[in-house]
């Protein structure tokens, strides 16, 4: 049973470029969340997708956008890259509840290391 998979594992870009990161959720999961983790910091929530819609968003500018596909996989797009966007980008998936309460934990991939030169 494959867990959360992310691609690519490493990426180098220059300032002003655009980047797309990809995530396949764990089998049976339908919710995907994205996090940014700077060196030495805890992960910071970017946004979450469920039923192909952005459901929640953290304190990130509009340069960060995403998409969820019918097969629950997801993409994170970042435009006009800045040096400060250098970080480990993590994808987490979970199974949504059936309209009520659920305590399903999020499972993380190993991330994409993005370096901006």
């Amino acid at each position: 049973d494959a867990g959360v998979t992310q691609s690519p594992t490493h990426l180098i870009k220059t300032r002003g470029q655009q980047v797309t990161l990809r995530c396949s959720p764990k089998s049976g999961h339908d919710t995907v969340s994205w996090y940014q983790q700077a060196l030495g910091q805890g992960p910071q929530f970017i946004f979450q997708y469920y039923e192909e819609e952005e459901r929640q968003r953290g304190n990130f500018p509009d340069r960060f956008s995403g998409h969820q596909f019918p097969n629950y996989s997801s993409e994170l797009n970042v435009n006009a890259l800045l040096l400060g966007d250098s970080a480990l980008y993590l994808c987490a998936s979970s199974a949504a509840g059936q309209g009520g309460w659920s305590n399903q934990p999020q499972h993380f991939g190993d991330g994409t290391r993005l370096s901006i030169l």
Binding site: P43, Q48, R55, A96, G97, W101, S102, N103, Q106
Partner: protein
Amino acid sequence: LAKTTQPISMDSYEGQEVNITCSHNNIATNDYITWYQQFPSQGPRFIIQGYKTKVTNEVASLFIPADRKSSTLSLPRVSLSDTAVYYCLVGGTYGGATNKLIFGTGTLLAVQP
């Protein structure tokens, strides 16, 4: 969302039991408490989750007092491979979508021989 407070770092020796305590004074009624472990250049790995009292699995135990304002992760007989950052988080799932996780800086556990 509830904010959590945990020690920045802890030291231990192989074979010892390690207890990491987390404070979450503003935890909401519907929030669960979840602990993750993270190694360098890897994603956080789910360890254990609980709502109240005690939860135990094959790798750890989680103790939650009645007021739920704190929790303690207990790692029995740690080894060198348990050296990692441990995160305590509170949150829940409402109406279908999983709530976002707010990470603090975590606790860096260093296990020595």
